[in-house]
Every structure is written in C-alpha cells, then in structure tokens.
Symmetry: C2
C-alpha cells in the first residue's frame, strides 16, 4: 500500500515573491503547508478535528529543502505532498513543486510531531489520526541532515528582531516561516539579490512568543570555490530557537526578467 | 460611457490571515492590488508595458478603506476594481470585496499617480495609458479624507523597525503593505486581538529604502465612547513616510471561530 499523494495547482502572485520576482523562502514554506492542510482536510483529519477531539496539533521539527529553481511571479506550479512514513513519535512528510511541464523545481523532506496544545508536550501518534494517510509504519523515519552549529571561533554577523504581532500564528507562537525570513535578512542585500538557496536544512528547537527579542546570527563560509555555505542560528534569551545550513548558488537570471 | 470594471475570485489561505483567522490589512491591500494588476494586464497596459514604453509606473498616494467585515480564512471573496476617473495628474481607483452571497465586505477608494521610475518624479497621465480603462476625465478627482497628524501635546507610543530585505519590492522600495503592518504593530497585542479596523485613511508621503530605520508612532483616542480612533505616523530620519487615521470596532466574534 502506498501513501496517499495529494496535488493542487497554485499561481504565484507578486506578494509571494522577493525582489527578484521569485517566490520567497517563507512563502515557499507557506504554500507547501497549505497543500498539506488541504490534504488533512480531505482525509478528515484537519487542524480543527485534532484540536477538538484530542487537543493536539502537528508541529514541524525540521525541513530539508532542495531547490532546483525558485518559480517566478505569475507562474503556475503543481504542489504535491505525501505523508510517507511514521513511527511512534515522528511522521515523515514529503513535498514537491513542479512546473507545468512536469520539471521538479523544489523537493522538501520534513519531520513532524504531534503536540498537546496546552502542555506543548509531544504525544504518541494515534492510529486513527495517521491511518487516513496510508503512511508506512516504520521503525525509524529518515534522519534529515542536521544543520551545522556556529563555533565560538567563527566570524559572526548578527541582527536583532522584535517579534511583531503579524509574526504570530493563531496559536500564539511565531509562524515557522518567520525563522528563514530572519535568517536570510542577516545577510547583505547585495548577496541576497545575486544568490539563491540551492539547499536549506533547517531545524526548529524552541518556540518564540510575542514580545520576545530574537538574534539572527550567521557565518558565511566561502572557502569552497564551488559553493557558498551559510550557517544560521536564531536565539531568544540565549536559547536556540532554530538553526539552519544553507548552500547557495548564483542567480541564473538576475532581476526582473 | 462607464469605466471598465474587473472582477475575480480569491480564496484566502491561512498565511494571509492574522491571529484571529481574518485577512490581515497588509494582505487585504495586496490582494486588491493583485486584482488591479490583472486588470492592467487584461487591458494591455501592465507594469512591464509602462516601464518598457515610457519608463513609468503607477504609485498609490492614498487609500480610504471602509471595512464592514474582514473575510475569514478559507473563505472565497470576489474582488472588483475600476479605474473610475482621472485628471491631468491623478487617477481615482475603486475596489470592492464581496462575499459569495454578494454582501459588501470592504470598499476601498484610492488615488494614484504615474511616476518616472528613474527620477521618481510625477508625470502627467498619458492618453494611451489611461484610455483602455474608459475612466471619466474630470477636472477634480475625489478628495480622500486626510489622516490626522500627531500633535506635540499627544501621548505617543512608538516602536522602531529596521527595514528588512523582505520588506523591499522589486523596485527597491518598501512595499506599501508594510506601512500598515508597522502601524498596527505599534498597538498592544491585547488591543489587536480584540479589535478590528472599521475605517482606515492612509496616505503615503515619502518612500523608504533598504537599510533605513523607521519609527512607528501612535496616539490612541478613546475619549469617544462609541469608537476608538488611532492616529499613526511612520517616519524615517524624521521625514514623514506615511500617516493614517484608523477607526476601530470590537471583534464581533473572537479568536479562532
């Protein structure tokens, strides 16, 4: 039995794009989550059902994002997702973004847990919650690449952010898509205008709340001529909230083509 | 001859919503602008055409936004827009948001100018640029309500923001939807969670660029029992970038209904 796969089309409006008229990383994450929420609804196990019945909700712990090409403003993409496998505590979900000719633009692997909405503690994955996905029950779900950590000897650049009201989800915590926004913004504009992520490994550690200040730190490693790598940490009150390693490539086409 | 009216449907995803699962004000502005861009395309006078042919682009100078009800997450809305009238320098554009039963949710009036992309100076509205809209040529376009200004005797609360890379449009300036985001964020979370704008008069004065710091100042006037009014100013280096007056009402339905 193969896991159910869910697909839908999406047209990318200008306000989901960065200065280069390509979809932004936060919006890339948002539209893929949208597809998974639509699958959850279709299978009768959406957010509201989980909260009402068990007081629980899905929380992502890490993404591994492989980008062949970021789709452009106004382009139509096919979003596909599948709850591939799970064990007692972890669910492995995959996402794909294809262009209209069937070329793969983006592939995302992700690990999810079920969290009690009140206690914020992880709970075992209940049978009736996972069954509709026809996910494979496995002993171990795939282990995603762990982001590197910043070393004390590294040359660090950092920016501070005050969490905004608009950063907050309906559940009172910072929306996951904000972490990559803070991470990217720690890099210089000239770099961001001329480079595009090819690979992002990101891990979420501790939730940040309204009123918190966060520090977005980055180390740029350009010692390898072929690829530039950046290592990111988001901390709040010296507690690690998220970490990421991003591998970059130069923009093939620059600006507003 | 009546001005061409353009309509399209839009489904509101979770990432266009605030903590109350209603569309956020920045996203409300974005989706309406999207409808107007689609009309521009349909009439053969889109952004690219204006830049390529004349090196000019439309810039909004003010909005007057009347909100009966902010649409909810997952709801389908009908967006309608019309380039109603114009004179030598100013164009008057109207927008409507309706629910699927035809009830008006939001009405927006706006004033636009054509700006030279290089010099950032206003240029007269060319005939062939405006003709496709069948707008009425008038001596005076409607005058939108001017936002109040903060007085030196007012009790002011202020927050500072560093312009982020993600705040920047493809043209290198801060996206217009960021000003209301900074304005709203200057208010306490408890207020924002329990109130909703009923009317927003906003005026854009000077463009803000990457690297600038802005101050978002607000004065809350609750002296009138029936309605709370807030007066907002966004300044960068003591220069006024945007001002607004917002009239608030209590949320009819609270939280995640």
């Amino acid at each position: 039995m193969t896991a159910h796969s869910f697909s839908e089309l999406h047209t990318i409006p200008f306000y989901e794009c960065n200065v280069n008229n390509r979809i932004s990383i936060p919006m890339l994450i948002n539209i893929l989550i949208l597809a998974s929420e639509h699958q959850n609804e279709k299978l009768g196990v959406d957010q509201l059902y989980l909260i009402d019945k068990y007081g629980i909700g899905w929380v992502v712990t890490s993404y591994s994002i492989h980008i062949s090409q970021l789709p452009k403003k106004d382009s139509v993409v096919k979003m596909t997702t599948r709850g591939t496998s799970y064990n007692r505590y972890f669910a492995f979900r995959e996402f794909w973004l294809h262009d209209q000719d069937g070329n793969e633009l983006v592939k995302v692997e992700s690990i999810w847990v079920l969290m009690n909405e009140k206690t914020r503690k992880i709970t075992p994955i209940k049978d009736d919650v996972i069954k509709p996905y026809q996910s494979e029950n496995v002993r171990r779900v795939p282990r995603l690449p762990r982001p590197k950590r910043i070393e004390s000897t590294d040359k660090v650049t950092a920016k501070e952010y005050q969490v905004r009201w608009s950063d907050i989800d309906f559940n009172g915590h910072v929306n996951n898509s904000r972490y990559p926004e803070w991470m990217l913004d720690s890099l210089p504009m000239s770099f961001l205008n001329n480079h595009e992520p090819a690979n992002i490994d990101i891990r979420f550690e501790n939730e940040v709340k309204y009123g918190n200040r966060v520090t977005s730190s980055v180390v740029v490693d350009s010692s390898n001529n072929d690829k530039i790598e950046t290592v990111h940490e988001i901390k709040s009150n010296d507690v690690l909230s998220a970490s990421a390693t991003i591998v970059w490539k130069e923009n093939q086409v620059k600006g507003n083509d």
